[in-house]
């Protein structure tokens, strides 16, 4: 489903502070599987995830999504793919303060100009499925850590993406909430979605629902 060929990513190219985050990474991620990118801090997990998720471009190499080369696409096409294909769950919930949970959840769909009543129904359905419908009108700063995480998951799903990308999703969750998160991931898998997670949490990469673990170190895939 997602193929990476000789992908390199260099930051601050040409400067004394030049830093190579990824070195000739070749990877094939299969559809309807849970893939975990595992490795220590600075191994290039997040950089790889951002390239896979069309958030940034590689310095060299090619990326294909469902057989389509996407590396050289202009920004607006890349944004369109990102919006329709990927749902992002960040290390922090990254919700926008000062507006309601419902507004936060609907944000990714605003540029699509969908009818408000339809969008609202979908958002409320998503919040109900994760048991936070009663918080829809609350401001995000009033949510607990687990509720904020679930709100960000509903936001990631609002455009019904095929691929869920989660960057260190359990880094700020306690064990109970981490297990709860993995249950949600299992549900995604059962719905036929592809899940890509970066994590160095054993609770994640040792989970039975994980199909494949990719080890990264110093910007390269091990083994």
């Amino acid at each position: 489903m997602i193929e990476l060929f000789n992908v390199k990513k260099v930051f601050n190219a040409g400067n004394p502070s030049e830093f190579s985050a990824l070195n000739s990474v070749n990877l094939f991620i299969e559809e309807n599987q849970v893939t975990v990118l595992k490795g220590p801090s600075g191994s290039g997990k997040t950089t790889l995830l951002s390239i896979v998720g069309c958030m940034s471009r590689p310095s060299a190499g090619r990326v294909k999504l469902k057989g389509r080369e996407i590396t050289s696409l202009p920004e607006r096409f890349l944004t369109d793919i990102r919006r329709k294909t990927f749902g992002f769950i960040f290390q922090q919930p990254n919700l926008i303060k000062g507006i309601s949970v419902l507004d936060n959840v609907m944000l990714p769909a605003y540029p699509l100009g969908e009818k408000r009543s339809h969008l609202k129904n979908r958002a409320m359905k998503g919040l109900s499925e994760l048991n936070i419908a009663n918080k829809a009108a609350s401001k995000v700063e009033w949510l607990s850590g687990g509720e904020a995480q679930r709100a960000s998951i509903v936001r990631a799903l609002i455009n019904d993406p095929h691929i869920i990308i989660a960057d260190e999703p359990t880094a700020h969750l306690d064990t109970k909430l981490s297990y709860r998160f993995m249950e949600i991931i299992e549900k995604f898998k059962s719905e036929g979605k592809t899940v890509i997670i970066t994590s160095h949490d054993p609770l994640v990469y040792e989970s039975s629902m994980v199909d494949r673990v990719v080890n990264l170190r110093d910007g390269q895939i091990e083994g």
Binding site: F88, I96, Y110
Partner: protein, 415 residues
């Protein structure tokens, strides 16, 4: 199209909530912006309206005023010259005037003393007790304001009719007495028999009407002289010609045509308005710098927010649209609020704030309500002076903010 409209609605809703989330910053900006528009709009409204007002009043002024000049200075006009002017073809009437200034050291103010028409002629003092109401005729189809109205007050020897400015300054009114020091040092006491209408206060604020006889006694002017004369011409297109004939026959006379007075008024108020705008252009510049600073100095929270929006699927153009609506809301709100406040300030409160700078230097500021004159050209100019600089000042920083990498949200680890 429906999707596009719905998208704009979503973006506008989100923009409004963003503005409200940063109340202090945005209300501060809005207040400053409104103040700038208010100042510029007040100056424009005031200058334009006062020019209109003055030109309407002066349309009722005499077509030609003839003065005598000695060594380049205005001198008393010999009555014997009047016949010479009357003989010029095209002259309908010649009327002599008595007027002058009196400095009141008590309040440090200059009064303009004038003998009303039909009362100032060299030998017309006998009519002084007549009841006078001046109503100017319509000129060119447009209603013309009378130079002054006596409203039934009787002007007789030993009395004065005074402008409202003087009445306010000296805190006097009908029936009170006002002392004057005559040319020979004697004190003359005049009784106030009435005040002038406030309709024409722009020109009558510091005015005093006095009989010709009293005027001559006060300033020591004999019957053989008057201050100047006014000339009415039958055919308006012959005004220039009559003026040149007067110059030819009376080489020491200076004819002043009404249009020249109008031009002088126009340039005086243009100059004052221009001066105000030049002074406040510094304020506009300061505001542009402030707007640039506010827009470019995005807080960490704002940068993070843009990063999140881009990460969840907003395009750079969506973020720019959001910022565009933000700028449009602030600038249009400030523009309309500033213009409305300026309108109220100029036409309802008599330009409370800028009165001294715009009306004149006298101690006797006219106190009158301007008739609202606003034209589209003025508003368009104001719009380009305020909204456009703000938009230009914010567009580059906005573009820079909108191009924040979407993966910045992934890199953000603090809350």
């Amino acid at each position: 199209m429906r999707h596009w409209i719905e998208k704009q609605r979503y973006i506008i809703d989100f923009t409004i909530s963003s503005l409200l989330r940063r109340k202090v910053k945005n209300f501060g900006l809005l207040a400053l912006y409104t103040l700038i528009v208010f100042i510029l709009a007040s100056t424009m409204f005031f200058t334009y309206s006062i020019k209109k007002e003055a030109s309407l009043i002066l349309k009722g002024a005499p077509e030609i005023v003839v003065q005598k000049i000695v060594a380049g200075r205005h001198d008393l006009f010999p009555v014997s010259y009047i016949d010479t002017i009357k003989k010029i073809r095209g002259v309908a009437a010649v009327e002599s005037r008595l007027w002058g200034y009196y400095y009141d050291s008590l309040v440090s103010a200059n009064y303009t003393l004038l003998t009303p028409p039909s009362n100032g002629g060299a030998a017309d003092t006998a009519q002084s007790s007549a009841k006078i109401t001046v109503v100017e005729s319509e000129s060119g189809g447009q209603p013309v304001k009378p130079l002054f109205e006596l409203g039934g007050a009787v002007l007789e020897p030993g009395t004065l009719i005074i402008g409202n400015g003087i009445a306010r300054l000296r805190n006097i009114g009908k029936g009170d007495y006002m002392p004057f020091r005559a040319f020979d040092g004697n004190v003359m006491n005049f009784r106030i028999s009435g005040t002038l209408s406030s309709q024409s206060e722009l020109v009558s604020s510091d005015l005093m009407l006095i009989t010709g006889e009293d005027f001559r006694k006060l300033f020591g002017i004999g019957n053989s002289h008057v201050t100047d004369v006014t000339v009415a011409v039958n055919n308006p297109s012959e005004v220039e010609m009559v003026a040149s004939k007067i110059r030819k026959r009376l080489p020491e006379a200076r004819p002043i045509i009404r249009d020249e007075i109008l031009r002088t008024y126009d340039s005086i108020f243009n100059w004052r308005g221009g001066m105000m705008i030049v002074i406040f252009s510094a304020a506009v510049l300061a505001f542009v710098i402030f707007a640039w600073d506010k827009a470019s100095g995005l807080s960490a929270g704002e940068r993070r927010e843009i990063g999140i929006l881009k990460a969840v699927g907003w395009e750079t153009s969506d973020v720019i649209q959001m910022k565009f609506w933000e700028g449009a809301m602030i600038s249009l709100t400030a523009f309309f609020t500033g213009v409305i406040l300026a309108y109220v300030h100029v036409f309802f409160t008599g330009s409370l704030v800028f009165e001294p700078a715009l009306k004149g230097w006298s101690n006797l500021y006219p106190n009158f309500e301007l008739t609202p004159f606003v034209n589209l050209e003025q508003l368009t100019t104001l719009f380009f002076l305020t909204v456009v600089p703000y938009t230009v000042a914010t567009i580059v920083p906005i573009w820079r903010a909108a191009t924040i990498d979407p993966d910045s949200a992934m890199r953000f680890t603090g809350e």
